[in-house]
């Protein structure tokens, strides 16, 4: 297990084992992590998976999700695969 996750309220605390860093995150970060499981997905695929469980504004959804994923990648929570 790479992450320890503790929901607090609207925010969630995530402990990242490898770095030893705790991140306090808001939606949709925990939801993205959960929907990804251990798989490699494109941001389109993640939007699709989120759509199954959640309602959200479709405008900008893909770019917003991509921005969140960039942020997670910058912190080493996700790894960007080059294709």
């Amino acid at each position: 297990m790479v992450l320890l996750i503790q929901p607090l309220d609207a925010m969630t605390a995530i402990y990242h084992r490898r770095s030893g860093i705790t991140h306090i995150v808001s939606e949709p970060v925990p939801q993205i992590l959960h929907r990804m499981g251990g798989e490699t997905l494109t941001s389109d695929e993640i939007v699709e998976r989120l759509r199954v469980d959640f309602d959200f504004e479709e405008i900008d959804a893909r770019s917003l999700i991509t921005e969140r994923m960039d942020e997670m990648a910058a912190l080493g929570l996700l790894v960007r695969q080059h294709v």
Binding site: L4, L8, A10, G20, I24
Partner: protein, 284 residues
């Protein structure tokens, strides 16, 4: 180097001083505390220069762990320098518990923890409650056991500042106060020896039951706080949360999941006491 050793809760200190007087003052105030043989940390009160050992003596705080920006203190405040040195060793070195910058008192085997910025009154409140039927557990650091989550006492001398000195002189027993230190960087300071029972029970932990964030100077009130705010404030109140890694995360999340928390505002000690008692009674 003159030497003095003291055991406070789980931590043993060795204090070395270039002057005799600070060692005598420490021995007097810590007379009821045990003397350890092996010290966890060494603190050194040294002259800032050879001249400053004799003329307008100036005390540099050194030790196993030091901070680069530390300012020296005049010899008359050497007691304060020793306390700062010991606190610094804990803040920078301690890794055996999750260390929170907070005060704590105990009743019926359960601990009340108070945390907040300096000036919030957490130290004075713990001293006051310690005179009113609670067991004083510490006014500066709260140590959370990494396995059980219990509060481990660290009942060092209580450091009273400015107006709280007068308030406590009216409450606490005579003969338990240190000398009045004037014009320190934090104003007037006077040390108070915790009650004898609190010192005797300094190895007895207690399970945390209530967390308070006191604020002094506002109309009496009780407020809820969001768990995420508690989490962030406690990580910032801890000097070793990050270094403890996973153990720190687990101890902190367990604490937040199990201990109710409130913010309280007060303008007078009696108001705070009433709020504390009311919240404490509501627990059961």
């Amino acid at each position: 180097m003159y030497e003095f050793r003291v055991q406070v809760g789980p931590a043993a200190f060795r204090i070395g001083s270039a002057w005799k007087r600070p060692v005598n003052e420490l021995a007097e105030l810590y007379r009821e505390y045990p003397t350890p043989d092996i010290a966890d940390y060494s603190v050194r009160l040294e002259a800032t220069s050879l001249i400053r050992r004799f003329i307008r003596p100036s005390v540099a705080i050194n030790g196993d762990y030091i901070l680069p920006d530390a300012a020296p203190l005049p010899l008359a405040q050497a007691l304060l320098a020793a306390e700062m040195g010991m606190n610094l060793q804990m803040a920078l070195g301690w890794r055996r518990h999750l260390l929170l910058h907070a005060s704590a008192v105990e009743k019926d085997g359960k601990a009340l923890i108070m945390t907040g910025a300096s000036g919030s009154g957490k130290s004075t409140l713990s001293a006051m409650l310690g005179c009113k039927g609670w067991r004083f557990m510490g006014d500066e650091f709260v140590l959370l056991d990494l396995l059980t989550g219990a509060v481990v006492p660290f009942p060092r001398l209580i450091s009273l500042k400015n107006t709280s000195i007068g308030a406590m002189q009216a409450t606490a027993l005579d003969g338990r106060f240190g000398p009045l230190l004037r014009d320190t960087p934090k104003g007037e300071i006077r040390h108070l020896v915790p009650a004898r029972d609190a010192i005797r029970a300094m190895t007895q932990p207690a399970q945390p039951a209530l967390l308070l964030f006191p604020s002094f100077g506002f109309e009496s009130a009780v407020r809820e706080i969001a768990p995420s705010e508690i989490f962030i404030r406690l990580t910032q109140a801890s000097t070793n949360y990050v270094a403890l890694g996973e153990a720190g995360f687990k101890t902190l999340t367990r604490f937040i999941n199990t201990v109710p928390a409130r913010a309280i505002d007060y303008r007078k000690g009696e108001e705070a006491e009433a709020l504390v008692n009311q919240l404490w009674d509501d627990l059961s």
